[in-house]
């Protein structure tokens, strides 16, 4: 290999930006859906119902013991099939939808552990005080416990989101054109795969490193 030639990156920018947009869409979808589902799982896990907490526990253990890549590959095949059973007709679902579903389901297991720890870190007096005011369980959760807990766990949720940001690159397995995959194919087209790979690595590094630095600062600023 001779010297590196980064001159072709600038002309490829529009495509790379499009790839990054897809990466960020996957990230946002996975994080938002994952937090919602994860919160529900955490509440189920902490509930008095043995069945509910058992189910939630099984869900979390299950998804935490299998590789994300397995979930992505599986859902890529299964989600279209399930949808066609439900709707009764062949609805074409793209790789994008199945990947979002995979991320939401998978990340929910990790988010739920964070949320659970956050809820458990709230002093019992808070919920007793809420009950004393005449709130129901769901009101106490919604207006007292969860707002307190979320403030505590935001740094951890963000840290987990940075991990997901890196993991979105696994959609390569189903051929989605995210940032990494776009960089690879652009690099192959102009015959400069190494330069494009290094560029992609640098972009991922700058974003992840910068974001985790910011999260650390937030963490110390928000520390109670």
């Amino acid at each position: 290999m001779s010297t590196l030639d980064f001159s072709q990156i600038l002309p490829a920018m529009p495509g790379l930006v499009e790839g990054m947009t897809l990466t960020l869409e996957l990230l946002v979808g996975g994080v938002l859906g994952g937090i919602v589902l994860g919160t529900l799982l955490a509440i189920a896990r902490l509930s008095d119902s043995r069945v509910l907490s058992g189910l939630a526990r099984f869900y979390v253990n299950y998804f935490r013991s299998i590789p994300l890549l397995l979930v992505i590959s599986w859902f890529y095949l299964v989600v279209p099939m399930l949808l066609s059973w439900i709707t009764g007709s062949m609805t074409p679902v793209g790789a994008f939808t199945s990947c979002i579903v995979a991320f939401v389901m998978f990340e929910a297991a990790y988010f739920s552990e964070i949320v659970r720890a956050g809820i458990q870190s709230i002093p019992k007096g808070q919920i007793n005080a809420a009950y004393a005011l005449g709130m129901t369980y769901s009101q106490a959760m919604r207006y007292v416990i969860l707002p307190l807990a979320f403030r505590k766990m935001t740094p951890l949720l963000l840290q987990q989101s940075i991990i997901l940001f890196q993991d979105t690159s696994l959609v390569y397995a189903v051929g989605l054109m995210d940032f990494l995959n776009t960089a690879r194919s652009k690099g192959d087209v102009v015959g400069l795969p190494h330069e494009f790979l290094l560029f992609a690595a640098a972009v991922y590094f700058v974003i992840s490193f910068g974001a985790s630095r910011a999260v650390k600062r937030l963490h110390s600023r928000w520390a109670v």
Partner: protein, 248 residues
């Protein structure tokens, strides 16, 4: 749409000799474990060295380790894999390059790449755990060690590391489980690991649910089994009088 459930699919012949699909899973599991264990050996060794480096007073050694950890933790695993598999062979001196590209079988060169990749990737995580373990020890341990005349090497070897490694058994366990899960990226560069064999079986038989259920079950059993095993180990090596373990 009709789906033909068939849980006996694993015992069907693959059409190659007397092979059944279950054989594919067994060989895939073998590759997965081989990748994970070899990668883990690298990660544990290098990660321990880096973790110790981060606790040293020599600023430049600590900084090198810090840079290593930052780089390997902030670049996606798949990017690192492409780096080791597609780019590094081109950078090797010519005799090594021809050996890697032509003399090694495709499976062997992919195996070498993925093991190096996972080993170095996981080393950064192990380093952080080892550092945390060492830093969690009371300052008095260092002082006492130095006071009885131990050299710094002796201090680490006989006082700090034996305690630190016990403290970090739980996080290291989950890093080991992570390397097993992460080894599935090998399927993306053509190695026939557990995930690749699962996908192949799914394609051949069209019994997607059964095939992926078995794969999930295998990963699940490995994880749970190993976690139980390490709980035992943790309890048996616990230092009496220290916190941790079963919530006592």
């Amino acid at each position: 749409m009709n789906y033909h459930w068939n849980w006996g699919v694993f015992f069907k012949s693959t059409g190659v000799g007397s092979e059944i699909y279950l054989n594919w899973f067994v060989s895939g599991l073998g590759w997965t474990l081989a990748i994970a264990l070899t990668g883990w050996a690298i990660a544990l060794l290098l990660g321990s060295v880096l973790g110790v480096m981060r606790t040293l007073e020599e600023g430049w050694l600590a900084r090198i380790a810090a840079v290593y950890v930052a780089v390997f933790r902030n670049i996606p695993l798949l990017v690192q894999l492409f780096f080791w598999y597609f780019m590094v062979p081109d950078l090797l001196p010519t005799p090594l390059e021809t050996w890697f590209k032509q003399d090694l079988s495709p499976g062997a060169s992919a195996f070498v790449s993925v093991v190096i990749c996972l080993g170095l990737f996981t080393a950064a995580r192990v380093a952080e755990q080892v550092r945390t373990g060492i830093e969690a020890l009371p300052r008095g341990q260092v002082n006492a060690g130095l006071a009885i005349g131990l050299t710094r090497v002796q201090l680490y070897r006989h006082v700090l590391l034996p305690q630190a490694f016990r403290i970090v058994i739980p996080p290291l366990t989950s890093e080991f489980l992570n390397i097993i899960k992460n080894s599935s990226v090998a399927s993306l560069i053509g190695l026939m690991d557990l995930l690749a064999q699962t996908k192949q079986t799914a394609e051949y038989t069209a019994n997607i649910f059964e095939v992926f259920t078995l794969a999930t079950l295998i990963y699940f059993v490995i994880n749970m089994g190993f976690m139980k095993l390490m709980n035992r180990v943790e309890n048996s090596v616990r230092i009496p009088g220290m916190m941790g373990g079963s919530g006592k």
